[in-house]
């Protein structure tokens, strides 16, 4: 089935009624309207503007522009502390949580080893690149970073290959065990990972005359990669691969009988998530300027899950929402309550979210809108969701 036919089939739904009026699908098919009458008329279909511009006009709403302006202007308005410690850190953890969110929300596999994969990339940067420790190899950053990403992807694929051959619920256990085993490995190995000390003074390079460690350049670096990850996932879940992945999430047996290689799709999903987590890991080690076993300990493995669940796993933006809330809580909790009780607060919030709003903040938002707002196109529905 060609990609265009596929998309049309998805958008008309099983009964022939349009599932969701998505004008850009119509536009892409060359201006033909959908078989069953689509209620909205495509007012841009006949104009001479290039296709990508038409696409932008249709999909961009006020909220997109608003968010974009906000994130671009933030470093100029906020203090360097907020830009660096709150905003950049949120973007980094949002990216790592996005990798989990993608796996869990679109692939149906909850992996607690995402932070470990990020840690592997971070350690690769520290071990192969320049650091304050004698054992680092000191390679140039433009060699080290791709290497680190490749390592992250390979490790994530291996983890995926180990985990996908069993039932869904097993995945949490296996990935948690792998994650904690990785923690103990970096804690107790000295020849490569320098044990408890870890690596200090792992800084981003000075490129084109800009010191990328300064708050503003670093923030834009993180913003760039976070947006790249976000749009990549948005695009990926609409490709045939992405749709098939969601199919395996919904009913693996049926996909299998349709001829799809379920295991291959799942392992590929792990590889993609490994790439995202790897980018997050490189940015994280640059943010902290160091990496130690504590960065990949059980606390952080679970925190990434908390972030993903907090924001909501139904839409990629959920990961970043969750990260912002988490980092804000973590940074400012000590002003409100004892910092020592931070875990209690975070655990309580997580528990509350899982008990009452399993879709996280996005789910809460959707509920509020459906209760108070006018009829609208839903951004997240539990059952029929493409992207």
């Amino acid at each position: 089935m060609s990609a265009a036919k596929w998309r049309r089939a998805m958008h008309t739904g099983l009964t022939g009624a349009p599932v969701r009026a998505r004008p850009q699908a119509v536009g892409r098919a060359g201006g033909r309207s959908a078989p069953a009458a689509a209620p909205t008329v495509d007012s841009y279909a006949d104009s001479d503007a290039p296709r990508w511009l038409k696409y932008l006009w249709r999909t961009l709403g006020a909220r997109h522009v608003f968010v974009l302006v906000f994130v671009l202007l933030l470093p100029f308005v906020a203090s360097p502390f907020l830009t660096y410690q709150v905003a950049a850190q949120s973007l980094i953890f949002g990216l790592i949580a996005l990798s989990l969110s993608f796996l869990a929300g679109y692939g149906g596999m909850v992996s607690l080893a995402q932070m470990s994969v990020a840690g592997m990339a971070g350690y690769a940067v520290a071990v192969l690149g320049a650091s304050g420790t004698a054992t680092s190899l000191g390679w140039a950053w433009w060699v080290v970073v791709p290497f680190a990403l490749v390592i992250a992807v390979i490790c994530s694929t291996l983890i995926g290959w180990l985990s996908v051959r069993t039932d869904g619920i097993y995945t949490i256990m296996i990935t948690l065990a792998i994650g904690v085993a990785f923690y103990y490995l970096v804690l107790q190995n000295y020849t490569v990972f320098n044990g408890f000390q870890g690596f200090q003074k792992v800084y981003p390079p000075v490129v084109w005359g800009i010191n990328w460690r300064d708050p503003m350049p670093f923030y834009f670096l993180c913003l760039f990669w976070a947006m790249a990850g976000y749009f990549f996932i948005q695009w990926l879940v609409r490709t045939p691969f992405g749709i098939a992945l969601q199919g395996t999430r919904d009913n693996a047996r049926r996909m299998n009988s349709l001829g799809f290689n379920v295991t291959a799709h799942r392992v590929a999903a792990y590889a993609v998530s490994g790439l995202l987590a790897g980018v997050g890991g490189v940015l994280l080690v640059w943010y902290n300027g160091l990496i130690t076993p504590g960065s990949v300990g059980t606390g952080w493995l679970i925190n990434v899950l908390v972030i993903a669940v907090l924001g909501g796993m139904k839409h990629p933006i959920g990961a970043f929402l969750g990260a912002i809330v988490f980092i804000l809580l973590q940074t400012f909790a000590i002003d409100l309550i004892d910092r020592e009780r931070f875990n209690l607060v975070i655990g309580g919030v997580f528990l509350a979210i899982v008990l009452f709003s399993p879709d996280g903040l996005l789910g809460l938002w959707a509920k509020l809108r459906s209760r108070f707002g006018p009829n609208q196109v839903l951004t997240s529905t539990p059952q029929r969701r493409q992207a």
Binding site: V110, R165, A181, L344, G347
Partner: protein
Amino acid sequence: MSKGERLATWLLVGGPIAVFSIWALADNMRLYLVTLLNSLTLASLYFIVASGFTLVFGLMRNVNLAHGSLYLLGGYVGYVVARETGWWIIALAAGFLAAAIAGLLIQVLILRRMQGQDLRQTMVTIGLSIVIADILLWIFTGQVYQMEAPELLQGPIRGIPIIKAYSAYRLSLLGFGIAIGLFLWWLLNRTRVGTMIRAGVDDRAMLAAAGVNVNLVFAVTFMLGAGLAGFGGVIGAVELSMVPGEDTRLLLASLIVVIVGGMGSVPGAAIGAAILGLAETYGLAYAPTYSVVFTFVILIVVLAFRPRGIMGRPA
């Protein structure tokens, strides 16, 4: 697995172990034997805690990640009771009961409402583990709590050939492990409740269709599983002391034991615990910096070739 394959596996795994054992015995017999005892006793502790985990997992498909916190809860309660009453036996019972009651509350109040949503249940247990661990930290602070072994078991047993002296308490751990194992075997194979649990592990729907009060069976199983964790906590408090952070360690151990041994299988838990205890202890004794790697390797090998675990059965 065909006979040939089985033989090959045994040779592949047993061969290097046999070679290593011969070398180690020749090199330092005392060290080898002490390590053997250490690993079996540690395995007993892991078995006690992991058996509860595997029962809950096997029957209710619920990965109870709050298992470690229940261990900690049992340990702290046991410590307080031992301090107040001075009787270790009462502390054991108190630890078991405290964790069992906590488990019952969790099952009835929270998990029952999410029947069938395995993932959500697991996430709830994660949240609970964070909350319980922090509350315990609040009450008991980060101080070290070392419980006193009962008079009978204190101090070393001397006069053992080759080894010369060994901790009486650690040997008693072995005794506890065997006792719990026998108790579970009796419970699962000779009582009605046990039959229902085993049936439920095989086919939950059928059990309900046969007219059994499944909710009650679930509650009893969860109580038993949690109670075993608490019981393990009291025992572990003497040997390993009570400190925040123990919960993660024991949880990881339980995870590995269940993955390696097979979910829902108590004999599998025994085998898995033995393997983990042996790997960890021998690793620590002979190659301390790489002991973790052994555990890792075992985990990966089992997952690669027998994803359901050694005694696991298809879902």
